[in-house]
Symmetry: C2
Subunit: 325 residues, 2 copies
């Protein structure tokens, strides 16, 4: 079994309850709500975030309990974000099939996203754990803020590495962080344990997004359900682009600038940009940065007592960054 | 002074703190966030919902305290909804000026709406009042569900009065209800007082939306910052349409059906539809229904001890339904 499969096995009992709760809370007498929500939620995502919540709770000795609600809430928050992101990015595909907005339209995607967010908060409130609510509601605001920041940097050739680090922390790492932190809290972790899991989640999330951003240029079409160069055509200032612009000649810069944010850029233009990336090894450098974060994630677990779950969580990090190599 | 001005005077001290909190929490280092948020929030809305929260708290003896946070959260929830609604409805104007989406685009409107919702939850969590959090998070989910229901009924000639009642309860009345209920809770109301204010808010909200839906056909362009017949062109199945379809002849039905949901419907076509409404007095019947809800709102206050604030709240209802006469 690979590490994610081991994580799935180790959380299977709790995740069965999480999945039942997800199904139940995606329900509504308004037919379009469960239709759209389940289309997305059942579309083959690995449910990594809620598994991390449950795993963190188990790590500290207590699965079940409020971890079930937090895990389902985290997955709803994630899916609400995906629905809104696909509208914002005008994405046609998600997880290898047409995005929900292509089937039900942008309007329904926006509103069902709002519904999932509301349901997520209801599930959190049911735990009556105000501190964990603080972690998750803060994550929710930071995620949206990060998406606005990313939007404001669209096609901005002056975007810095620090800007990028802020974007991926806000739009991805913060939810991984919160997922792990509230899992640890509901599992009975002390302050040090809670902090360790929060750091683990954040660094795993950073590594995860860096790999995604490299894969967007290097993965094969269909594998991730999105086409090579989508980020480029959407004008997303990800690390491979930022690093390339740092070294590019004027003519290379012109090639990148012309394709960036051009929804109609041809495959040839995308390949020309990727050739520039390869010239300066920016995909390799992006993946090296992912490895740095992966090491930090594993190091965050160091002080915790050894256990099967701890070793799974460490191996999940290694597996997660190995997707792109 | 009219009743809303009296409400403003009676809540002025608390509302100064609410407004400061709103300004503060709409802030962000991402420039687009406060720019867009303040454009909407400072655009001359009366802040009726947060005033109701504060007024309900004062009614039971305690303003300030957590009522300030709840009031600001309610206003953020409302503004998040407006941002998303304007995208969904493709509205050009809001409160007499271009909608935020016309200035910053749909994408920013979606994401800043999400940000405001996240900030709303953070403000609620800070009160550590889990019961009030339950009321507001439930309202958030129900509101989104109601918007999806309304969307699914767009242009549906078979929409019933019961469907309409459900839509306005979910998309409008529930937030008025929650605003009043959490105000009462933070003011120290007992169970009966909390229930009375929840009912007051709900019935005021129902009356308010019915009047809005009548005004959409009868108000003068500019007065409400939207043009006569917008709901018709958007295909919204509001009560004036539903009642007209119940009595319409085949040819009248054809006229309504042809204009409904037709963004390009001419003013002449809209006037033809309004002429049908007038033939069956459906605007009058809609306003009569608003009056019924207004009476129920006032009746909900009956058991509470007399006070200046109670008399203001009752008069606000009367004033609110008199907008359209």
């Amino acid at each position: 079994m690979n590490p994610v499969e081991r994580l799935m096995a180790a959380t299977a009992e709790d995740m069965a309850r999480v999945n039942a709760l997800i199904l139940n809370r995606a329900n509504s007498h308004v037919d379009m709500v469960p239709e759209l929500a389940r289309y997305l939620i059942d579309s083959g995502g690995k449910r990594l975030r809620p598994m991390l919540t449950v795993a963190a709770a188990i790590l500290f000795g207590k699965g079940q309990g409020s971890a079930i609600n937090f895990a389902a809430a985290v997955e709803f928050m994630h899916n609400a974000t995906l629905l809104h992101d696909d509208v914002v990015d005008e994405s046609d595909m998600r997880r290898g099939k047409p995005a929900a907005r292509m089937v039900w339209g942008n309007k329904a995607s926006i509103l069902v996203g709002d519904f999932l967010l509301g349901q997520a908060f209801m599930m959190m409130v049911e735990t009556r754990d105000v501190d964990a609510l603080g972690v998750l509601s803060s994550a929710s605001a930071v995620m949206a803020e990060g998406e606005v920041f990313q939007l404001s940097k669209t096609g901005d050739l002056d975007t810095t590495e620090a800007d990028y680090a802020e974007v991926i922390r806000a739009k991805t790492a913060v939810l991984f962080e919160a997922a792990c932190e509230v899992g640890a809290m509901s599992g009975g972790a002390d302050a040090a344990g809670r902090k360790a899991l929060a750091l683990y989640g954040m660094e795993l999330g950073n590594a995860f997004q860096l790999v995604d951003d490299a894969l967007d240029y290097g993965g094969e079409a269909g594998t991730l359900g999105k086409n090579v160069g989508d980020d480029l055509r959407e004008g997303k200032m990800t690390l491979p682009v930022i690093l390339a612009l740092q070294s590019a000649t004027d003519s290379e810069r012109a090639i990148i600038a012309s394709a960036l944010g051009n929804a109609e850029a041809s495959d040839l233009e995308v390949h020309q940009v990727v050739a520039i990336f390869n010239r300066y090894d920016t995909l390799g450098k992006t993946l090296a940065k992912a490895q740095d974060h992966a090491k930090s994630a594993i190091a965050a677990l160091a002080e915790l007592p050894g256990s099967e779950m701890k070793s799974i969580l460490a191996d999940v990090v290694v597996h997660s960054v190995s997707r792109a190599s």
